[in-house]
Amino acid sequence: MNAIVISAIWGVIMMFSGAFSKNLKTVRALSIVGIALLFVVNLLELYGTHLFTVDTKGMLQFDSFGLLFNAIAIGSTAVYFLLNGRDMEKVGLHVAEYYALIFFVLCGISIASSFSSLLMLFLAIEIISIPLYILTGADKRNLKSNEASLKYFLMGAFSTGIMLMGICLIFGAKGSFSIEQIALGDGTLTPMVGAGLLLLMFSLAFKVSAAPFHFWTPDVYDGAPTVFTSFMATIVKAGLFIAFIKLFGDAFGELHGQWQTLIAIITAATLIIGNLTAVFQQSVKRMLAYSSIAQAGFMLFSLVALNGMGREGLLYYTLAYSIPTIGIFAILVRMKDYTFEGFNGLAKHQPVLAAVTSIFLLSLAGIPATAGFMGKFYMLSAAIQNGHVMWLVIIGIICAAISVYYYFRVIQAMYFKEGDAQELETSSFHKGLLVLMAAFVIFIGIQPQWLLNQLYTFFS
């Protein structure tokens, strides 16, 4: 509850800060204070201090899984603010509003990680989505940004409609919005529940950009201002995943056998389409968009397996995917040329940036001693433990191998190709933070113990 209330309040504060202060520095400082406060209050709740007691009539339930996820999401956002603060100011005039919208998204994510009623789920998804439509179109004078925003809005509204229909059908069948009530049953699938479940699955698959509902993703990610793409592709996507696994794990866990094959097929399609299409991209930004689809495929493993390892793995994967991606975007956003050629010879001119980018890319590719490896390890283990989906595991590793090709293209460009690297504005703070992030990626890759300890303490 702490995180939900504070993030909503701070969103409002940020909005007003823009009206009262024309100084961008104040706004930025205020956002940092806000995110730090948010992180602290969320931690407080994790350790049992509730600042607000609201009777939600059982519509929200705060468990350690959700709160831990909040901590990861808020922490990543803090890093994101620190890295990208200056770049957000370049997008347009309404900097304070951008911050406000991001705080609102965080509010949505906090609800998504704690809902126990379908109504709350719907609310969470909407609170997350609507600010994103605005952020996508934040670059008002850019045609691509406008197009992306409109596209996202129309498609998003459509999928929200589908979700509502699903919710209605489930309500009709079970007579309640409560997850606990829905979960009751003898494990048989009535047509009405089946239809509702399918609609919910499709709409959530749309939100996490799983194939074949992914068509909006490349255009939206490509068209949106790069700073916001970074946020959407990482923290937001992870938040929607949490909602996905919470709903299907808690409400439809009993029926897992009935929908496992379907979600496995969606996973396979997501992996194949994401990876194969990424191979043919010429722009790094677009490649990262497809790579985010491909990585979503791996996150879907947790839904396919639906066991303890999968849930822990999803938390781990969120971190292992978000930090490197935010890092790469933070470098990309300062470049003028987004093509692979734009990275040519970067190692010579910016050895530190090239080195950290390499570490981030190695992590995304899942090379041992980086966080990405442990993430993939968890997901593959979860699926193998489940035992029914060995074919999916094989597809998964083939796709992981394909992903090496396009991630390494960037490394090749930076290190092995000659080129006059572009001017790149960077400060020592920016660099230092990126180095810290790279160190963190390696640290939790070699010593996942530390993070796992946190997870296990809360799960047991």
């Binding site: 090496v404 090749q412 796992l452």
Partner: protein, 488 residues
């Protein structure tokens, strides 16, 4: 303590090398570091009698049932010795070469050494996988940065090839893990409860990874290109040392873990090995490029070793142990000669060279000894190894095709004599041409390195006993876990 040192010394010294500014400093520093590693490795073999000092078990991921468990058993000793010997040799032999951005080159070399050591020492499946992959990353950067013209594409092929294999192995490892009480330690892997059917498909998951690394026909296509395009110093590491990761993988992580499947598929794999040997030998005869010639010759030699593992005989296994070391030494010797020739004349084409013996007698003598070892002539180290290998294959009680394999594989020895002697004749004898007329002999540091190798070749060839004794324990332990009789 010793095994930890063997990993940590190259790792830390490698990281430190990134900070050294001058080329000379980086060179000296890395040579020094590799010599220290060598000393530690030798101490581990000769001085330490206390078993506890030869293994270490540190806490790593207790929740996943994995620990940082490293042990120097007989096979580990011999392979670590090979790794420890190889690196100072390589640094000395390439002392006169100059690399652009030298500090990164030497740093990556040392990091590669750390990865290799780890893979040879790990007695925990997850740890093994970690090091298995980590050894690959420096190799990727080394080949792509300092290699030949087509280096980027070729190295990418190499990387993706091995990465696919590794991922297959990862699935295998995770599957066995769930059937071994959720524990990654080697003991629980050896006692994993797996049905013959499961063993059978798991076998191929593991085997593909190892077969790509060795490489075994038909998964060898990355190898000649990569060897050709890599800087020679890296080729030495790849073919001299890294290839042994594949063999070690089969001996430590495949045959004892899945004995039933190994027994079942032994002849199939054997057939692939034999085909590969003949195929590679024939291709070697036709090569004009020295590097490609040695690359194909290496496929043939490794094929024989792999064959000997899968016929499951004690003699053969002994042979593999000693031959892993011998092949490493011999092939590094050959690569050094190639490196010296290429640096002096700027070409590796056999057809463009000739009459070198007149101008560079020392090089010629040393090369002839190394080449004879490559043909496995008596008195050289490879003779001991190949003799044991062939005895093992011939007397195998498991393989139904032992004599056939022996006969066909024996052919490859004759073929190896054809291409090796042909190469010596055309490069070192005959008349000099324009290019080689002004040749000079090798420098003293190069003489020393090749001299040491030649001495090693002869010493092991005449007195292999200490080596055989070193690995006796490992061989017996492995053999006791494999199926050695043909159940009727």
């Amino acid at each position: 303590m010793i095994p930890v040192l063997l990993i940590v010394i190259p790792l830390l010294s490698g990281l430190a090398t990134f900070l050294i500014k001058q080329e000379k400093g980086a060179k000296t520093w890395s040579l020094l570091a590799s010599l220290i590693t060598l000393v530690v490795s030798v101490i581990g073999i000769t001085m330490v009698k206390d078993k506890a000092a030869l293994s270490a078990n540190l806490e790593w991921l207790p929740m996943l049932g994995s620990s940082f468990s490293v042990t120097l058993d007989g096979m580990g000793q011999i392979l670590c010795l090979l790794t420890a010997v190889a690196f100072p040799m390589i640094f000395l032999a390439t002392w006169n070469a100059s690399y652009k951005n030298a500090k990164s080159f030497y740093a990556l070399m040392l990091l590669g050494q750390a990865g290799l050591m780890g893979a040879f020492l790990a007695h925990d499946a997850l740890l093994f996988y970690f090091f298995w992959e980590l050894a690959l990353i420096p190799a990727y950067f080394l080949c792509s940065q300092w290699g030949g013209e087509r280096r980027i594409a070729v190295t990418m092929k190499f990387f993706i090839y091995t990465f696919v294999g590794s991922l297959f192995m990862l699935i295998g490892i995770i599957y066995v893990y769930f059937h071994a009480g959720q524990n990654f330690s080697i003991e629980s892997f050896y006692s994993a409860a797996l049905s013959p059917k499961e063993q059978n498909w798991l076998f191929w998951l593991f085997f593909v990874a190892f077969a790509i690394k060795m490489p075994i026909f038909p998964l060898h296509t990355w190898q000649p290109d990569t060897y050709e395009q890599s800087p020679t110093a890296v080729t030495m590491v790849l073919s001299g040392v890294m290839v042994k990761m594949g063999l070690l993988g089969v001996i430590r992580w495949l045959a004892p873990v899945l004995p039933m499947a190994t027994w079942q598929n032994g002849d199939t794999v054997g057939l692939l090995c034999v085909i590969g040997m003949i195929y590679a030998s024939i291709l070697a005869i036709q090569q004009d490029d020295l590097k490609r010639l040695i690359a194909y010759s290496s496929i043939a030699h490794v094929g024989l070793m792999c064959l000997a593992i899968f016929v499951t005989s004690e003699k053969g296994m002994q042979g593999v142990m000693i031959q892993m070391f011998n092949h490493g030494i011999n092939v590094i010797g050959l690569w050094i000669v190639v490196e010296l020739i290429e640096r002096q004349f700027g070409t590796r084409k056999i057809s463009e060279l000739g009459g070198l013996a007149q101008k560079a007698p020392a090089l010629a003598i040393l090369l002839v000894v190394v080449s004879l070892a490559n043909v496995a002539l008596p008195l050289t180290n490879a003779f001991i190894g190949e003799f044991l290998l062939f005895t093992g294959v011939f007397t195998s009680t498991v393989s139904k095709m032992g004599p056939v394999f022996t006969a066909v594989a024996g052919l490859s020895i004759i073929l190896s004599a054809v291409y090796t002697l042909n190469m010596i004749q055309r490069v070192f004898f005959g008349n000099t041409n324009q290019l080689t007329a002004s040749a000079h002999d090798i420098r003293s540091n190069e003489k020393i390195v090749l001299g040491i190798l030649v001495v090693a070749i002869l010493v092991v060839g005449v007195y292999p006993k200490p080596f055989l004794e070193l690995t006796q324990g490992t061989v017996e332990a492995i053999m006791s876990k494999m199926i050695t009789k043909h159940p009727i």
